[in-house]
């Protein structure tokens, strides 16, 4: 049976909520893709839940896209929430002073 290959950065709608899936490594190499998805979500102006359970690493390029999306959503009265953060990613965000930024 053919393996289903899923886009590691993808968004889907769940009612009024938008779900952003981040998987594997989100780095400067994939930041452009993340930005494309983020811009669409920003235009939507809905609550965004970022699902991070399969995220192994996110670098500064990825985080700053999320921060910019977060700001855009806040301007529209919505929010971005990071969910199911693995411990290593939480630790990175703590060191970077960004654990409470969301």
């Amino acid at each position: 049976m053919a393996e289903v290959v899923r886009e590691p950065i993808r968004a889907e709608a769940a009612g009024a909520l938008r779900i952003l899936h981040l998987e594997g490594q989100v780095t400067v190499a994939s930041a452009r893709r993340l930005l494309e998805v983020a811009r669409r979500l920003g235009k939507d102006g809905r609550e965004v839940s970022v699902r991070c359970e399969h995220l192994t690493h996110i670098d500064c390029a990825g985080v700053q896209v999320l921060l910019a999306l977060h700001e855009t959503l806040r301007g529209q009265g919505a929010r971005l929430r990071l969910q199911n953060l693995p411990e290593s990613v939480q630790q990175t965000l703590r060191v970077a002073g960004l654990a409470d930024a969301w």
């Binding site: 400067v28 985080v63 700053q64 910019a68 855009t72 970077a96």
Partner: protein, 675 residues
């Protein structure tokens, strides 16, 4: 635009190789340097740079190994470990292994080189060397190492283009955290634009991190060493819990040094060799075009203004060429630096004592020449240790110091570079060389030979006098390969030896392979270039100077009573319409490897500097031709390979071959090429 990580990775591998060399040469001096902190810092920084960059590419094995090495080096730096011979060996082994891991990763075979055997060795050093479990700050600290803890404010503002460094700055922050306790970390987001204006390849964030640590400010700064040119970094002591003066002063000192380092860094840039080669090629074309313009204009009526303008263009072109060529020049020390390790390892292995003295490491040579020198020099040094330097007991008996000296020397001599590998060992055993050469049929029993000629036999293919074949040398392959390597660089090699006093191998090389000083000679309607380095003189022969030998199969040119083999270049290359009567032509006396021979040409046109173009790359190898150049009138001239010419000319034996065209073997390809 997608960022091409491969490009960054290539830079990493290039830089890792440089850092590994720095580490290795530093480690070799570890014992004598004692607790010289600046010295240890250099080694530490090299390991740290590799670790930092490897981390950003997720090269886990490299990070694991360098991390533990770094810890050992850190303890050395803090005087918690002593730089003993055993520790040096362990660190050298670790650096070897690291090189293997880096190479394997470069080949895309990460994980194929095990490190699980070397890590416990390093960890044992760490555990054994630590006097107690107490924190470093509480240990008996030497002067200059802060005893108490300091709170530092680290302001880190990456530049917009920071990501081009290939560095993950979160990893840098985590690394900073490992040096102490992060009291607070503030992310500065004021530069972050709105989502629509954000460029994902730009870095907009900055940090102010407060760290409490017993480490010196420089160690915090070292975390960012790899990205120093791409960020603003400030490390300032805010509060000190003990020994405030020492720490604060240390912070100021390290700030100053870092500023000085930055100044040095900003004076150089890293450019790919392809770009430089492209530039050299273009300048070569420009030189040729300029010569063509000169030749075309010479036929016109020149005005003084035009003449002056042409002179200025000519001068500027020549200067431009010199400047561009200078970009490719590297100090020969870049290849010499690998040999102290070789000498160290081999002497240990063979139970001998020897040191390597390096002179003239700053002598500059073209990068392409330098790159091809490593193997021949390695072989010569191996030979010196294996065959030249005696055992300490034998040396003592001979009244020599127990420690032998191998000297690696480079210097300029008349537009060329000379490299010498000399040792103060037992010298060549000429009797044995002669006997062996006789046994191998290389010489005849009644053949009279000078000392220099006997010495030269060591360069014969398959020649070895080593009684025992070791894995160091003595397999009978090598010296002939060394000679071929040197000759392929348009160089020459010779050996001088005094029994009981030692040997000296002398390699003479051109400064560059891209430009050659040559003599242009005419053959029929064609022009050929003979490298000036090989020419001894040019003579118009008298009838009595030319003799036929071997029943008419060969010709000699008698130069002041000495018969030299004569090569008719026109026959060798199959050039039509060339001078047949030697008295109508010129004999150019050339020398290769101590053997002189005459080359008959129609006329000598003059001396010139030519830009060498590869025929091999564009067509295929042509025998006795090392390359081609384009003349001022746009015609192509072949550059004669004198060493090969000598080989081709002397291997002709059969009358059939001779009858065909004295030198038929090489004629066909070149005629085809000219056509």
């Amino acid at each position: 635009m997608q960022i091409d990580l491969k490009k960054f990775q290539e830079t990493f591998f290039e830089e890792a190789a440089e850092h590994l060399s720095t580490m290795e040469s530093g480690l070799l001096h570890l014992e004598e340097s004692g607790s010289d902190n600046e010295f240890l810092n250099t080694i530490f920084r090299a390991a740290h740079s590799i670790k930092g960059a490897a981390g950003s590419f997720d090269f886990k094995e490299i990070v694991r190994l360098t991390h533990v090495m770094e810890n050992v080096l850190d303890k050395l730096r803090s005087n918690l470990l002593a730089p003993t011979a055993d520790l040096t060996q362990i660190l050298l082994r670790a650096s070897d292994r690291l090189r293997e891991v880096v190479d394997a990763t470069h080949r895309g075979e990460a994980g194929s080189v095990p490190i699980d055997d070397i890590l416990p060795e390093l960890e044992a050093v760490l555990n054994g060397g630590q006097p107690s479990e107490a924190p470093v700050a509480d240990a008996a600290a030497p002067p200059g190492v802060p005893r108490g803890e300091v709170v530092y404010a680290v302001v880190f503002e990456p530049e917009l283009e920071f990501f081009r460094q290939g560095q993950d700055l979160f990893l840098l922050l985590r690394e900073l955290g490992e040096l102490g306790e992060i009291l607070s970390s503030e992310c500065q987001r004021s530069r972050l634009p709105a989502l629509d204006e954000l460029d994902p390849e730009h870095c907009y964030l900055g940090w102010k991190v407060r760290v409490r640590t017993a480490r010196a400010a420089q160690e915090l700064r070292d975390v960012f060493m790899f990205v120093e040119g791409a960020c603003r970094l400030e490390v300032t002591a805010e509060a000190v819990t003990a020994a405030p003066e020492a720490s604060a002063a240390g912070a100021v000192r390290t700030e100053r040094r870092a500023a000085a380092d930055r100044r040095v860094e900003s004076t150089s840039i890293r450019v790919s060799t392809e770009k430089v080669d492209g530039l050299i090629n273009l300048v070569g074309e420009l030189v040729i075009s300029q010569a063509m313009v000169n030749q075309a204009v010479a036929a016109l009526a020149m005005t003084p203004e035009l003449e002056e303008a042409l002179m200025v263009v000519q001068r500027s072109t020549r200067e431009l060429q010199e400047q561009v060529m200078a970009i490719r020049m590297l100090p020969i020390g870049t290849v010499f630096n690998r040999f102290p390790r070789l000498v160290h390892d081999l002497t240990v292995k063979l139970g001998k004592r020897a040191r390597l003295d390096i002179e003239g490491a700053e002598t500059e040579l073209d990068k392409s020449v330098i790159e091809q020198l490593g193997d021949p020099l390695t072989h010569l040094i191996r030979n010196s240790i294996d065959h030249g330097i005696e055992d300490p007991e034998q040396r003592a008996l001979a009244g020599k110091p127990e420690e032998g000296v191998i000297t690696l020397r480079a210097y300029h001599e008349g537009g060329t570079v000379v490299i010498e590998v000399a040792d103060d060992g037992k010298g060549l055993d000429r009797e044995r060389i002669r006997a062996k050469a006789l046994a191998q049929g290389l010489i005849r029993a009644d053949q009279p030979m000078t000392d220099e000629e006997v010495n030269g036999l060591i360069f014969a293919a398959g020649f070895s006098t080593a009684a025992v074949v070791s894995d160091v040398s003595g397999r009978g392959v090598g010296m002939d390969v060394v000679k071929r390597n040197v000759e392929s660089l348009n160089g020459a090699i010779s050996v001088h030896s005094t029994p009981g006093k030692g040997s000296r191998i002398r390699i003479r090389l051109p400064l560059t392979l891209a430009i050659l000083d040559g003599l242009s000679v005419q053959l029929g309607r064609d022009t050929f270039i003979v490298p000036l380095l090989s020419i001894r003189q040019s003579v118009r022969p008298e009838p009595s100077d030319i003799k036929t030998v071997l029943g008419g199969r060969g010709e000699v040119f008698v130069l002041r009573g000495e018969p030299l083999p004569l090569v008719r270049l026109s026959r060798l290359f199959g050039v039509a319409g060339a001078v047949e009567d030697p008295q109508q032509g010129i004999v150019v006396v050339t020398e290769n490897d101590g053997h002189r021979f005459g080359v008959l040409v129609d006329d000598v046109l003059g001396q010139l500097q030519v830009v060498v173009k590869s025929i091999e790359r564009n067509y295929r190898k042509v025998e006795a031709v090392m390359g081609a150049t384009i003349l001022g009138d746009g015609r192509v001239a072949f550059i004669v390979d004198v060493a090969e010419l000598h080989r081709v000319a002397t291997r002709r034996k059969s009358p059939e071959e001779d009858g065909r065209s004295a030198d038929g073997a090489a004629a066909a390809p070149l005629q085809e090429e000219v056509a």
